[in-house]
């Protein structure tokens, strides 16, 4: 079991090992957030347990279009900062189209963060094979700190959901999850995700989710 650390706890005396969730002062490494300590010989980091989603470059996120401007779209990415998707970064945009014909207010998109400037202006792109506008399926919102749990170790949890239910799932780093497929199976997947989010103690969670899905699938076939 990894231990829980609080802000200000001394983690190491070698500043070279400082990783995410830590800070260095006077050559010493301290924790800066509440989280689980992950310590190896070459690195020390703190996996946060709480907190809002803070964008970082390369993240796939799910966002909602909030505003249309002449240069692009303002996108809410469930974070303290809004994202901006410039017209040039959307391959669907053609010279003969107006921006609101391509993406309108309240449209949901899967998008990628390509740049964050020092003032935390977040630039998005749709030029990625994962990226698309969502026209069907369902979006589920969870606490962003729980995203790694939904993905599981090396993607085990998400693989389980996909293979057992035959649904398509894309997990945004910002806590929004897109599910698409058979409506009844999407219902089960949604419930399973909420269970994963709520059950703090993950010991044997994968097994419990497997059992839950089996049970719910049995109910479906029984009808």
């Amino acid at each position: 079991m990894r231990s829980i650390v609080l802000p200000g706890e001394l983690l190491a005396t070698n500043p070279k090992v400082a990783g995410s969730g830590t800070y260095v002062e006077n050559g010493k490494v301290y924790a800066k957030v509440l989280g689980l300590l992950d310590k190896t010989d070459t690195s020390v980091r703190v996996i946060p347990l709480r907190g809002r989603y803070i964008p970082s470059i390369g993240d796939i996120v799910i966002g909602i279009v909030r505003e249309i401007t002449a240069n692009g779209w303002v996108v809410d990415i469930n974070s303290p900062y809004q994202g901006f998707l410039p017209i040039q970064e959307n391959p669907e945009m053609k010279p003969d189209k107006k921006p609101n014909e391509v993406l309108d207010i309240d449209d949901i998109i899967i998008t990628k963060i390509i740049n964050i400037d020092p003032k935390m202006k977040v630039t998005l792109t749709m030029k990625d094979k994962m990226c698309r506008a969502i026209r069907f399926g369902r979006v589920v919102a969870i606490n962003p700190a729980r995203v790694p749990r939904v993905i599981g170790k090396k993607g085990s949890m998400i693989k389980l959901l996909k293979s057992e239910l035959g649904v398509q799932i894309i997990v945004g780093k910002n806590g929004l999850i897109w599910i698409s497929g058979d409506r009844r199976k999407v219902n089960i997947a949604e419930e399973a995700i909420y269970i994963i989010e709520a059950e703090a103690h993950t010991e044997g969670l994968t097994d419990r989710i497997t059992e839950f899905i089996k049970k719910r699938k049995g109910e479906l076939n029984g009808q």
């Binding site: 990894r2 829980i4 946060p48 709480r50 809002r52």
Partner: protein, 254 residues
């Protein structure tokens, strides 16, 4: 004025009897403290705290967008702190709304927390801390700061360390830790402290106020006394947060 108050002013009722205080505590003993983290569902972080008869609840929201926009700071987050007393928190009903005292407490408490919050990580954002006093005794500002510090950790806000706060009063010539209302009213001085604590060590003073009359050496002695009390509170704050998360094992993840 009630007759008991008059007697106290005349010195007929003693606040210290046989080296013990009215509530039976030693001079350097804290009141009973209870801390619980994560009590509010809709806040990003929260804490309920009791310090003697004080009952306070703190809520943290953020980092989030600042409205109105002109309050935004392009290079760091703004911290907002509101200390508020419920009308029923004191013996005589308090008119709701901010008054001079609570505006002052909010300001000094905010400055104390700004010493530990890593504001530079969240440009253009705001971190809002709301603390409500549900029942007041002496030292409610120190209780609120202790609660706010726990709530900030619970919210996952990056911080350099934690804030622990306690007051020292001078009563009938003796310095006493964590005074009660009687000791605050009829004592000679009241000195609230807050410290920036990191890795079980006091790093610096984050808040220091005083009113009353003390000598230079008494003030230094009060500081030592407060440090000892603050470290004790710090341990309880840590315990409160850890006990909430001890069941969590994210080992399976990633």
């Amino acid at each position: 004025m009630a007759s008991e108050d008059v007697k106290r002013l005349k010195g007929e009722i003693k606040l210290i009897v046989d080296g013990k205080r009215l509530d039976g505590r030693a001079f350097d003993e804290l009141r009973p403290i209870k801390i619980e983290a994560g009590v509010l569902k809709r806040a990003d972080g929260s804490c309920y705290l009791e310090m003697g008869k004080n009952k306070v609840v703190a809520a943290v929201y953020g980092p989030r967008e600042v409205h109105p926009r002109h309050l935004q700071d392009p290079i760091k987050a703004v911290v907002r702190y509101r200390y508020n007393m419920a009308p029923f928190s004191v013996e005589e009903r308090k008119r709701p709304g901010p008054d001079r005292r609570s505006i002052e407490i909010s300001k000094v408490s905010r400055e104390a927390l700004e010493a530990v919050i890593m504001k530079e990580l969240f440009p253009r954002c705001g971190i809002d801390v709301f603390v409500e006093v549900l029942q007041a005794d002496a030292g409610s500002r120190t209780a609120c700061l202790n609660a706010a510090s726990v709530a900030l950790v619970d919210a996952g806000v990056p911080m350099r360390g934690m804030i622990s706060s306690v007051a020292v009063a001078k009563v009938e010539g003796h310095l006493v830790l964590d005074p009660t209302k009687e000791e605050d009213f009829y004592g000679e001085a009241d000195i609230p402290f807050a410290f920036f604590i990191r890795n079980d060590k006091i790093e610096s003073i984050a808040l220091l106020q005083m009113d009353g009359r003390v000598t230079k050496s008494e003030l230094m002695e009060a500081l030592q006394m407060a440090k000892k009390g603050a470290l004790e509170i710090y341990r309880m704050q840590k315990e409160a947060i850890k006990s909430r998360y001890i069941i969590e094992e994210a080992d399976e993840n990633e």
